[in-house]
């Protein structure tokens, strides 16, 4: 298999916060290949959101550098950078005073697309995220949590980014909806040939979705690898514990179903 080009290269980035160690990042390096789906799995307070925000400069690192598509992001106009990268927020962050269509159209509008092109793009995106077209004129408050998250994904995809950053995007919805959203997104990732970094505290989600998993703890990446590598041979106790959880849960569920003692 030929070596693919690196889409995102994170090199020795750090950030310290006075009195808030939960947000801090210490000397983290991570390469993400084009078309790859990387999950950063971590518990809260591990610095994972800070790391993600470095990439589109929502937060500036105090040390190290990040290369996106060959450019050092520190030298790129942050506004242009953000318009070229899709970002899905943990809290969704849909604009409550704008309709679904207007929310989806926001980045194309900022980029100055003409109206016809924007309208056609909105129809296409709602289709893509499997939202009924008649929701276009509705306001976010009238949507379910899962629908809002789909609109959030559509908004991030609107201007046709090559890279998607997703900060616990499916955290706020129930398990069944989450499952549907996650697998739908994985399909989109393939179809649109995206490069995705997904942050999650849910190891099962990481294992099921990602090509590669990086486990973060205390502001550093402890270990990374494919689910297949990481699950059987973790080097750190913390990673072993974390990785063992999905299997333990599955065993307990299995035992409950068959009635046998665990």
């Amino acid at each position: 298999m030929p070596e693919k080009t690196i889409a995102i290269s994170i090199r020795d980035v750090s950030k310290s916060y006075d009195g808030n160690e939960a947000l801090a990042v210490h000397d983290v390096s991570l390469d993400v290949r084009e078309g790859e789906f990387v999950a950063i799995a971590a518990e809260s307070g591990s610095g994972k959101t800070t790391l993600l925000k470095f990439i589109n400069r929502l937060v500036e690192p105090s040390g190290g550098e990040i290369i996106v598509s060959g450019d050092n992001v520190g030298a790129v106009d942050p506004i242009r950078l953000r318009r070229s990268i899709g970002y899905v927020f943990q809290e969704v962050g849909l604009f409550p005073h704008m309709t679904v269509a207007e929310n989806v159209a926001i980045t194309p509008r900022l980029l100055g697309w003409d109206k016809g092109k924007i309208d056609a793009r909105v129809v296409e995106l709602l289709e893509l995220v499997r939202m009924p077209q008649e929701t276009a004129s509705r306001f976010p408050a009238t949507l379910s949590g899962g629908q809002r998250q789909r609109v959030g994904v559509a908004r991030a995809l609107a201007a046709g980014p090559r890279i998607m950053l997703m900060d616990e995007p499916f955290g706020a919805v129930d398990a069944i909806t989450r499952e549907g959203l996650a697998s739908d997104y994985r399909t989109l990732h393939e179809r649109l040939k995206l490069t995705t970094i997904l942050i999650t505290h849910d190891v099962v989600e990481a294992v099921l979705l990602a090509d590669r998993i990086a486990v973060m703890h205390g502001g550093t990446i402890l270990e990374q690898g494919t689910p297949r590598d990481l699950l059987p041979h973790p080097a750190h106790d913390y990673v072993r514990e974390l990785m063992a959880m999905p299997r333990q849960q599955a065993d307990r569920v299995g035992a409950l179903v068959t009635g046998a003692p665990p």
Partner: protein, 520 residues
């Protein structure tokens, strides 16, 4: 159709002018308050220190009593006007609209700034982060996300400001700005409670209507309902135009007549306006000006004519403490006015409104008191009542010094109660104004002042420097000179007394003129 109370009819006749001026002033102040307040509030979002200073400043302004704030800008602007006149030859009117506008604008800024700051700071942090995350510039985020989301809070601030300003604008009357406050101030001075009530109700209704319309606009904006926005916008424009129409369509008065804040002055100002009207000269009134404000306004050309009193000019403006004869004072003030201010004294009207000591006629006869000298011999057994100002004035000190007056009791009472008290025998002597209608009504006598301790207060008609050679104006007023005897003035003043037959100043002025014209 039932007959309308004549005072209500009179009030209604004045409504177009008062309401129009009130609306122009209030709207200008709120618009200016928004224009200044919004950018300041937005600018302060970046710096907590600036925000603190800004909020503290507008908060501090709010603690200044509104009347004082309004009054403060008149001398400030007057000084500024003198400076600009001297330096650039630019003169502007320090009276009326400008000081009222500045004070009310400052007043309107607290709710606008505070609500804008609160509204924008209250926008969900996740939404602000999302705005930056999708690639908005800070300005785009402000205009497209933060301001629209803060809109209900900002509009609430604007509505509060509008209601405050409409209420407070009634206080701009004493600095020479016509407003619905003219009803209240003239009503208070003439005890015309119907006028007072009319002014309050009109201002309250205006505030309610404006608040409701702004509320409708707010709902339309938040729901982004274009039909509703157009409807409420049109309704707002209709109310605005309807109240402004009379003020805009009528030609502005050629002449400005001033008056001080008491009943007699309102009658005389109305009389001067009616005289001008008779020869087809239009005029507007600056009613109820403070005493010094009126004189400064005349000297500065903000008003064209008003009636003052020789004793006031002599003691208050010229700071003279000795009192020569009536004639000498009249000559003295005419010279001084011409020399120092270019103000023309057209002449005395024929009556005095002086401080005088008054007693019930039967009591004075019984005690054998005709002069203040007679009174002084018995004052130890008698009581005196004066208006709140009297016992602090130089006249009272002069009376005590020259006659050795020392009463058993000194009481302070409002003018109305003072007359009742002496009529009922509750007090023996009062400090009266010689032209008060109550002197005749209660059959009182004023005591002679053989030592001339009390200065004469001849009513004199003063003309602004720029109108000194205006023959048409002088001719219109000439029939009044020397024609208003003390009896006529008392009779006219009495018409303003509260009660069933209470007249408006305009009606009293017409009766006074009929009286003068009938005798000629």
């Amino acid at each position: 159709m039932p007959q309308l109370d004549p005072r209500i009819a009179e009030a209604l006749a004045l409504l177009p002018d008062y309401l129009g001026q009130h609306v122009i002033l209030s709207i200008s102040a709120v618009v200016l308050g928004i224009a200044l307040g919004l950018p300041l509030a937005v600018a302060s979002l970046r710096s907590p220190r600036l925000r603190f200073v800004l909020l503290a400043t507008v908060g501090l302004i709010q603690t200044i009593p509104s009347l004082a704030l309004l009054a403060l800008f008149y001398p400030l602007l007057l000084g500024l006007s003198l400076v600009t006149t001297a330096m650039f030859g630019v003169q502007f009117s320090a009276l009326g609209f400008l000081p009222s506008l500045i004070a009310l604008t400052l007043y309107s800024m607290l709710p606008i700034i505070r609500n804008t700051v609160t509204g924008i700071m209250g926008v969900d942090a996740a939404i602000k982060q999302a705005a930056i995350g999708v690639g908005m510039t800070p300005l785009q985020s402000l205009l497209q996300v933060e301001l629209p989301l803060a809109l209900p809070t900002i509009m609430a601030g604007i509505r509060t400001a509008a209601v405050w300003v409409i209420g407070t604008a009634t206080l701009s009357t004493p600095v020479g700005q016509t407003s619905l406050g003219n009803y209240i101030f003239s009503g208070l001075q003439t005890q015309n409670w119907i006028f007072v009530l009319f002014g309050c109700v009109a201002a309250a209704l205006l505030a309610l209507v404006v608040d409701a319309l702004l509320g409708a606009i707010e709902i339309a904006l938040t729901r982004r309902d274009r039909r509703r926005l157009v409807l409420s916008g049109v309704a707002f424009a209709i109310v605005l135009l309807a109240s402004l129409y009379p003020a805009l369509s009528e030609p502005r008065g050629q002449y400005v007549i001033g008056s001080k804040p008491f009943a007699e002055q309102f009658i005389l100002a109305a009389l001067l306006q009616q005289r001008l009207g008779d020869v087809h000269l239009s005029s507007v009134e600056r009613a109820g000006l403070g005493s010094n404000v009126a004189f400064d306004a005349l000297a500065g050309g903000d008003i064209d004519a008003y009636v003052d009193y020789s004793g006031t000019i002599w003691t208050n403006y010229m700071h003279r403490t000795e009192y020569p004869s009536r004639e000498a004072i009249l000559t003295g003030i005419a010279d001084w006015l011409q020399r120092e201010h270019g103000v023309k004294m057209l002449g005395p009207l024929g009556f005095e409104n002086a401080y005088a000591l008054a007693m019930r006629r039967d009591k004075a006869t019984a005690l054998g008191v005709k002069t203040i000298e007679d009174l002084a011999r018995q004052s130890a057994n008698l009581s005196i009542a004066g208006d709140p100002e009297f016992f602090l004035r130089p006249e009272w000190r002069a009376l005590q010094r020259d006659y050795g007056l020392a009463f058993r009791a000194n009481r302070t009472l409002q003018a109305t109660f003072m007359y009742r008290a002496v009529a009922d025998g509750e007090v023996d002597v009062i400090s009266a104004y010689s032209s008060d209608g109550e002197i005749a009504q209660y059959d009182l006598v004023t005591l002679e002042d053989p030592k001339h301790s009390l200065p004469p207060y001849d009513a004199v008609l003063l003309i602004a420097p720029k109108r000194a050679n205006d023959m048409a104006l002088a001719e219109a007023f000439r029939p009044l000179l020397g024609a208003i005897t003390i009896e006529r003035m008392r009779k006219a003043n009495l018409l303003l007394e509260s009660g069933a037959g209470q007249k408006s100043p305009q009606a009293a002025a017409r009766a006074l003129w009929d009286d003068i014209a009938g005798a000629q």
